[in-house]
């Protein structure tokens, strides 16, 4: 939060920022089949992404399949080496640290995964699963470990007496609580939640979201929260970044991005999300984008969204728009678009002027 320090607005006190990602790039090589596996291309999973996660806050990351949000999360967690760019955690550069140097950092950064069925070893007891972090980092043993594990179980709403049960004896929601307890064990500062509630039923999803909110409040946790459900992301996030094909299209405070989105992709995404309100659904003008997300091996030139964009002009295919503040927006609201959407503008009737018909992009 704001301090008495009269630092210029462009340089927020570094203490407020837990994670800073600068120009992060992650390419995966595509190799040819056969004996000599030549590199024939690059999957440009994350391409020049910069963002910050403030201490004690939640950054929501939204995007469709293949937008690179999970890859970005894995780079931040140090699970995969980055191609270029920099990840700073607590003011320290943690990009491509050696395994040994990374170890103390790992205690501070934990992950919760999407599928509570496959992220827990079915043949190990729950107590052992949650106790693993203590064993790996040698912070507690024997009776002390058991006591701490049971404390964690109680904290996340599991019955501590179920210490010796197997994951199969728990329901989906309870399993996700096991995942949360495991992530919480070493009192991390950052938890990366990769689609933590997507596999859960609505009524259970709300239980887990409430739990995550409570933990954040009690322990001052920061979250990097990835989900494809826009309402869920809105509910948990302080700020939001919208990714498309490895790039950030728009980012900013939750309120700004959701109520006055500037990037046509954000606008389309918000209009596409089904709202559980029939009247709102009937009155809403849904923007139907043509085609699918293109391949990240050979992304479109210029703005990566231009082949599907209802507002695209010739410029969009030639020049990549920088991520910048647009006129009238708050300074933290950034948009990468040559022709940002104005308030009250309808994209339903807009037609692209690139010469390429929308349908042909499906190929």
């Amino acid at each position: 939060m704001s301090t008495a320090d009269p630092a210029p607005a462009t340089h927020p006190a570094t203490d407020d920022v837990l994670v800073r990602v600068d120009n992060l790039v992650k390419y995966f090589p595509v190799r040819s089949a056969g004996l000599i596996r030549r590199t024939v291309g690059q999957v440009q999973a994350v391409d020049d992404v910069s963002l910050t996660i403030p201490r004690g806050k939640t950054l929501g990351l939204v995007g469709e399949t293949g937008s690179g949000k999970s890859t970005l999360a894995r780079c931040v967690a140090g699970l995969i080496p980055v191609t270029s760019g920099k990840v700073t955690f607590n003011g320290r550069d943690i990009t491509n640290l050696s395994r040994r140097a990374m170890r103390p950092v790992r205690r501070e950064i934990q992950m919760i995964f999407q599928d509570p069925y496959s992220s827990l070893n079915p043949r190990r007891r729950v107590g052992a699963i949650i106790g693993d972090p203590f064993a790996i980092h040698k912070t507690a043993t024997g009776a002390e470990r058991k006591r701490q594990v049971q404390e964690l179980m109680e904290r996340v709403g599991l019955n501590p007496e179920h210490y010796n049960r197997f994951p199969a004896e728990f329901s989906g929601g309870q399993r996700q609580r096991i995942g949360v307890a495991r992530a919480l064990a070493l009192r991390p500062q950052l938890i990366i939640c990769d689609e933590p509630v997507s596999a859960l039923d609505v009524s259970i999803q709300a239980q887990v979201l409430n739990l995550l909110a409570d933990l954040q409040q009690d322990y001052g946790l920061s979250y990097l929260f990835i989900a494809h459900d826009l309402e869920v992301v809105r509910h948990v996030s302080d700020s939001v970044a919208v990714m498309y094909l490895g790039r950030i299209g728009e980012s900013g405070p939750e309120g700004a991005v959701y109520t006055s989105p500037r990037h046509p992709y954000t606008v389309a995404l918000l209009s596409a999300a089904p709202a559980a309100d029939p009247d709102a659904a009937a009155s809403r003008q849904r923007i139907i984008l043509t085609g699918d997300v293109p391949s990240p091996i050979d992304p479109p030139s210029g703005c990566r969204f231009h082949p599907r964009c209802p507002k695209a002009q010739l410029l969009c295919g030639e020049q990549e728009p920088p991520l910048e503040v647009k006129a009238g927006d708050v300074p933290t609201h950034l948009t990468a678009c040559h022709f940002p959407v104005e308030a009250g503008e309808s994209l339903v009737t807009a037609t692209a002027a690139t010469g390429a018909a929308g349908g042909s992009e499906l190929t």
Binding site: E64, T65, E154, R155, V156, G157, S171, G172, G173, Q174, R177, D201, V202, S203, I204, Q205, A206, Q207, L209, N210, L211, A213, D214, D218, H228, L230, E231, V232, R234, H235, V236, E254, G255, Y258, A268, L269, S271, A272, A273, P274, A275, A276, D277, P278, D279, A280, A281, R286, I287, I288, L289, D292, V293, G359, S360, L362, T363
Partner: protein
Amino acid sequence: MTLLEVTDLTVSFPTADGVVRAVRGVSFGVEPGRTLGIVGESGSGKTVLTQTLLGLTPGADVSGRAAFDGTDLLGLDDNQMRAVRGARISVIFQDPLTSLHPLYRVGWQIVEMIRAHDKSVSKREATERAVDLLRRVGIPRPEQRVNDYPHQFSGGMRQRAMIAMALSLSPQLIIADEPTTALDATVQAQIIDLLLRLQQDSGTALIMITHDLGVVADIADDVMVMYAGRAAEKAPKRDIFYSPHHPYTKGLLESIPSSTAARSRLRPIPGSPPSLINLPSGCKFHPRCGYVLDRCLTEEPGLRPVSPDGYHSSACWLPLQAAGLSERAEELRAETVREGRGEAAAEVFDAEAAGAEGSVAG
């Protein structure tokens, strides 16, 4: 006239662990040209229900009636069912990758579908129809794409191909089982838009099975909410969303993070759905219900009308006026609970509330 009239359908599966009572006495009707949304969480029986109608649940004990355009679907033998399935009732499944055969060309699979039901159509004619169908569902350059294999299609295109196949014999009823769950938001919007448009053109009836209340709000005319193998509530769409009567429906709606209440605390339903082998006594929702009465512990409520016109019905003992998300409805419910709850019900409620509390307090 009602196209499909299901009466008291009951489906159970004998297993080594006991009898799984998947569907317990469900009745509903579908009119031509209308869409029925069936909503429910995992294990509510929504998928078993529709698969049973199509004879896709071998080994199950089935009773009840399902009159489709005059014939009882449950009484058909395999051959007769084969003539109905695909031709007069077709299905779209959730995962288009596993429901298309990976080794056959997409076009071939549609041709096969057409010719399986009508041998008099020549291969060439059938191929022409396949191309035409692919064009109708918005696949670009269908003349070429008809020769592609499923893996050459994206997820959204595969689902379009599935829809093309479902349409190929102009069925009277399409059953769509979570057709957009595996798709991204923008692609989901495309598919829903397509289904709505096709339905307008052809007047086909549609049963949309989903766990996503947003999809139902978009596409359904009528909604049936299922819980533990039964219909908890049945009503025209607006009634379900704006004046729900059953506490489960209300709980579902309040569990959804909505833009109007951003960052506020969600109100989840405590606990989790019951095991279908070992169902609780009385109303199957009572262990999770905040309005539980003594009566709920012993007697299972049936669907009864809660609106004057009779279109809105709910299986709950709460008074009929206690419908809606308003304060007035809340007062009414609280009042009823005060009057109708004895010690046993209070105990159930306190135990569940304590469980919910455990996830909140340290």
